[in-house]
Symmetry: C2
Subunit: 241 residues, 2 copies
């Protein structure tokens, strides 16, 4: 009953699967010409299609139909993270946040950052795999590492449909995310490194209208904070549905 | 300012650290006699103590004082999981759930289980490490693999302070966890294998008064479902504080 699921960014314009997806169709799933598949474009659409010619390098399909579509999601989440020393933890985070549903994941370098480079290619593969597994409709854009200085100043033509928040370890603790969250916006969440933001960075963030929030009393690892924040946004919206 | 944190199950009765913790104090953190440390007993207490004699095998301490204590938590969570094929995913789950806060994590074997053995020792180490990192006060008990048949029948002297729920993939979907959750109880959450519960198992669970719940539209991996369910329980309680 459940069709095998593939990813193709523009199936309406290119009626074939990537080499990687073709290999998967042919060698792993051993699909045959005429088999039905689902294709996610990662931009809100799920298609049904029929395999025309199954091949390890270039599998073609036809009879493309939209079977599920989300045009304008009520809210979306962009995460900006200071990458952890172990790249594996970032791969896990990308996998889990993609499963839960996320719009984009970017990386920044700050004073106490532990890692100064990021393999985007590897993370994109992790995201595609998690997209197919979860059958979500949106693939997060994986954005390259930038300096925190580039992120802090908010766009001057600041849209009211955006909210900007950052996880802050402070005494007394800040408000929890669920208390400050504006529903039905595009929420931008900044998660600092294990060593946290420097005092100067925190001050600058607040001065630039980023809202601090607390993730509770327990001290969460960077990747856990990412998952908890992402899950909170979804859960809070679900509560109000 | 922040004291190094150690774990010892009964610091009031045994005034020394385990060999592993002693090694960590001496060789990794290079602490000295007279240094102040924090000790978590994993049962609701955090102590302050003074290192008496630092040694790689048996570090002793004195001047033990309780600095934080939770006597009776308002609610607690027990998770029962069908372990995934990759043990690494279970280690990650134990780490994340311990960070978020959890009372016990057990494992069961069901019809579509992918793994038939569990290294408890390794998981206990992961939990202790996550406890110290998060500075939570409760260490989850890691329970051995049992058959789902042993879990399904609820205790006959069923305490009203327990709730029993299981993640269920059904069409139409079940109620989300936040709708069925009884606050301030001991909640027992059952998460099935990637291949889900068999029809027979689901029927038996419902017949035995386990409540089915949905974790939303996205299909989450087993370990992600564990984290999402655990985080949901905490967030729902936080919302009502």
């Amino acid at each position: 009953m459940s069709c095998p699921v593939f990813y193709a960014s523009e199936p309406e314009f290119k009626s074939f699967l990537s080499e990687e997806e073709s290999f998967h169709a042919h060698r792993v799933l051993r699909l045959k010409n005429g088999d039905q598949i689902h294709i996610l474009n990662g931009k809100g659409k799920r298609f049904q299609a029929e395999l025309e010619f199954v091949d390890s390098k270039k599998t073609t399909f036809s009879a493309l139909n939209i079977v599920e579509e989300i045009k304008n999601p009520a809210y979306s989440i962009s995460l900006l993270v200071a990458p952890t020393k172990q790249m594996e933890r970032m791969e896990w985070m990308v996998e889990k946040c993609t499963e839960l549903g996320i719009h984009s994941i970017g990386f920044f370098q700050s004073r106490y950052s532990e890692r100064k480079e990021i393999k985007l290619n590897r993370l994109e593969k992790v995201a595609i795999s998690a997209l197919k597994q979860s059958k979500n409709l949106f693939l997060p854009e994986i954005k390259p590492l930038v300096s925190i200085r580039e992120i802090i100043p908010l766009p001057t033509n600041k849209k009211s449909s955006n909210q900007y928040v950052f996880a802050h370890i402070a005494d007394p603790v800040d408000q929890p995310l669920f208390k400050i969250l504006q529903k039905d916006t595009h929420i931008n969440i900044l998660i600092g490194p294990e060593g946290d933001f420097s005092n100067e960075e925190s001050t600058l963030l607040i001065k630039n209208n980023w809202l601090p929030f607390s993730l509770g009393k327990a001290i969460l690892r960077t990747e856990t904070a990412c998952i908890a924040a992402t899950h909170s946004v979804h859960l809070i919206h679900a509560l109000h549905e």
